[in-house]
């Protein structure tokens, strides 16, 4: 194969593979904007003329399933992520800057938490939450999420603290700044990339979480949009338009987040891949 063949063959092959790969999502996208009867007849056709009737139907549901789900998802994700960032930044910094066995053991226990599947603890977790009267409440699921995702935050921040020269903190301390102030004024701003990683990854994970909201949030407080999709399956088994529209709307926030912060996403993912 001569190099000139390769130069046009490579993008062509890549494009073809990407197109095949994207086909399932294409099918969802075009059918969101198609009347239901056209979906069955021409599933792969472009939506001409396009209709927003499916989206409108989801937004106007009399039980407001989508809107309640959206409010819950936003609350849960925003609170959980913010709290994890604050707590894990401090804890990560503390552990990175503290010598001794206790810190090492603590770190080990935290890191073992990275591998715990939700299914392992969910049953006992509901009992703990129940004993605090937190089952079926937003604070309950936020606390559960904070605990569950804290190790990831600590892991990311610890890795980053090590790149911040300790002399800087010492200089600030000599100037009379307390530990607390030093951390928030000097160190935390320097860790912006780490903060971005934690924010983005946890944002996506918590938004998309299924088991925790399904079981912890229960029915009392409504659902998240992700559990809402699951619930809509039953009712819209044959109404693909409505189901796809629900899924599209439920995914829209994370998609927008991804498109806006694509660079940070990739950077967060790949920081480990390149330096080892």
């Amino acid at each position: 194969m001569s190099s000139s063949t390769a130069s046009w063959l490579r993008p062509l092959v890549s494009l073809f593979l990407a197109a095949c790969f994207f086909l399932p999502l294409y099918l969802v996208l075009v059918n969101v904007f198609k009347p239901s009867q056209d979906i069955v007849a021409h599933p792969a056709a472009l939506p001409v003329p396009a209709t927003t009737a499916n989206l409108q139907a989801v937004l106007d549901r009399p039980d407001r399933l989508f809107w309640y789900g959206l409010v819950n998802s936003v609350e849960i994700t925003a609170f959980s992520v913010t709290i994890v960032v604050v707590l894990s930044a401090m804890l990560g910094h503390y552990l990175a800057r503290t010598a001794g066995l206790a810190a090492k053991v603590t770190l080990l226990i935290l890191l073992s938490g990275l591998t715990i599947p939700s299914a392992v603890i969910i049953s006992s977790l509901t009992r703990v939450l129940d004993s605090f009267g937190l089952m079926g409440t937003i604070p309950g699921i936020v606390l559960a999420d904070v605990g569950y995702y804290l190790p990831f935050g600590v892991f990311v921040f610890m890795g980053f603290v090590k790149t911040v020269p300790v002399e800087m903190e010492q200089a600030a301390a000599i100037d009379g700044a307390g530990y607390f102030r030093t951390f928030w004024q000097i160190v935390f701003p320097l860790m912006r990339p780490a903060t971005a990683s934690v924010f983005i990854f946890l944002g996506v994970w918590i938004w998309n979480d299924f088991l925790n909201p399904l079981i912890i949030l229960g029915p009392d407080t409504g659902t998240t949009v992700t559990v809402g999709v699951y619930r809509a399956i039953g009712e819209h088994q044959t109404d693909f338009g409505a189901l796809f529209a629900f899924m599209f709307l439920a995914s829209l926030p994370v998609l927008v987040l991804f498109l806006l912060f694509q660079k940070s996403f990739v950077k967060g993912l790949t920081s480990g891949a390149t330096k080892g």
Partner: protein, 430 residues
């Protein structure tokens, strides 16, 4: 200096807000003075959609003042599984509809209905547990009857629906020869129950017809699933599958897709619960639909049916009496019953109730098939739907559903299937 402080304050404020925040779905108007708020667990299907429930709840609440009902919706059609999950996490709803009480009742989580409360019901003692009734027996559902495509039958040269099992097999052969798939079943995803109906029907004709209390005998250990009668019923289904009379494509279809498949002419016969009648009348398929009872060997018109389907009340409801009053009002409201008949093809089991006169032909034929069996004493229990004493232990119903899929997909032989049921039965009782 200011930034970190502000941040800290923000975090504190955020935490506080979180603690005091009411979540989205719970915004119930609490304005009504000393009203009691109670939760009511429903489920949604294409027949029973959100509007159906909202309207019915509003009518009941208008009759019973002092109650604010918060509707909960099970995330899938398996509301019993969801109620269990909620009970396991300390959140059992105050009022539930069409939930299998088995297990809940024995552990004292449900309030029994008194004879006085059951006075208006036709079969007040349907499916009792320890002599007490925990589910209002408000309707009877023949499960299944065979709905068939009259056009396909004509095409295959079948003049009248079969009355004996031999006829039935002959008709299946004719349909298949005419290039028509004889039997439509479902069973994909969460809807494995849709695969069970040929089996439930065979158990009706070959087991329950001769031994009505067979399942109680199983509970007492007097019979087992691998006894000859149950094995024969199971073998019938295996043979139907083997002969290619049941389209296995259905095993990946959800319940609604299954109904759609029958409507789309992907098979001539659709063994399904009587609720299909409502759907068939509401949106008529592009062909006429007939109904017959799954034939027995000797031609007796055996109809498996389940009576119950109504409300249960949690023994820990904030006000059990009020909850019961509301539940009864919901059940006995004429408009609610009419809506249930219209939407779900219910055969109401409340004294003096007369169904709406504008019911469609499929519902009327369903009613006729049921009444015919009832008049000749040929109504039997619907296997896997029973909820009273001696019924399947908790969790076993799912096992039966998936075993039906194994049977039809010929993943397990009839003999293996019945042995499997025996093993799982013992495990579920452990």
């Amino acid at each position: 200096m200011h930034r970190p402080l502000r941040l800290a304050a923000l975090v504190a404020a955020a935490a506080l807000t979180a603690a005091g925040c009411a979540a989205g779905g719970s915004s119930v108007s609490g304005g009504g003075g000393d009203k009691v708020t109670m939760t009511f667990l429903t489920f949604e299907t294409p027949n029973l959609n959100a509007k159906y429930w909202d309207d019915a709840i509003a009518r009941a609440s208008a009759k019973v003042p002092g109650v604010t009902i918060k509707k909960l919706v099970a995330p899938s059609i398996d509301r019993t599984g969801y109620a269990k999950q909620l009970a396991a996490t300390g959140q059992l709803p105050d009022i539930m509809i069409a939930v299998n009480p088995n297990g809940f009742a024995q552990s004292g989580q449900l309030a029994p209905w008194t004879d006085q409360e059951l006075a208006d019901f036709t079969y007040p003692h349907a499916n009792p547990i320890g002599g007490k009734v925990y589910v209002l027996p408000f309707n009877t559902q023949p499960t299944p009857l065979v709905y068939y495509n009259k056009q396909d039958f004509a095409k295959a040269g079948i003049a009248a629906p079969p009355t004996t099992y031999a006829d039935f097999l002959a008709d299946c052969a004719k349909l298949k020869d005419a290039g028509i798939n004889p039997i439509v079943v479902g069973g994909g995803g969460n809807d494995t129950f849709a695969a069970t109906y040929p089996w439930v029907a065979s158990v009706g004709t070959d087991v329950y017809q001769g031994t009505p209390d067979w399942l109680s005998q199983r509970a007492d250990g007097k019979v087992k699933f691998d006894s000859p009668d149950f094995t024969k019923a199971t073998q019938k289904v295996a043979d139907l599958a083997k002969a290619g009379y049941i389209d296995t494509a259905g095993l990946s279809r959800s319940y609604a897709d299954t109904e759609q498949a029958f409507r789309d002419n992907k098979g001539a016969m659709y063994p399904m619960g009587s609720w299909f009648a409502a759907s068939a009348d509401q949106t008529k398929p592009p062909f006429d639909v007939g109904v017959f009872a799954w034939p027995s060997d000797d031609g007796r018109p055996t109809v498996p049916a389940y009576t119950g389907g109504g409300m249960s009340v949690s023994s820990k409801a904030p006000n059990v009496d009020l909850a019961k009053r509301w539940a009864l009002a919901f059940m006995e409201d004429k408009q609610n019953l009419d809506a249930s008949v219209h939407a779900d093809g219910s055969i109401i089991a409340i004294k003096g109730y007369i169904p709406p006169t504008d019911m469609g032909p499929v519902y009327n034929e369903t009613l006729r098939a049921y009444n015919e069996a009832a008049a000749s004493g040929n109504v039997v229990n619907a296997f896997n739907s029973e909820t009273g004493d001696g019924s399947l232990p908790p969790g076993m119903s799912d096992v039966v559903n998936s075993a039906a899929v194994d049977l039809i997909s010929r993943h397990k032989s009839a003999q293996d299937t019945v042995s499997f049921l025996d093993a799982q039965y013992d495990k579920a009782n452990r």
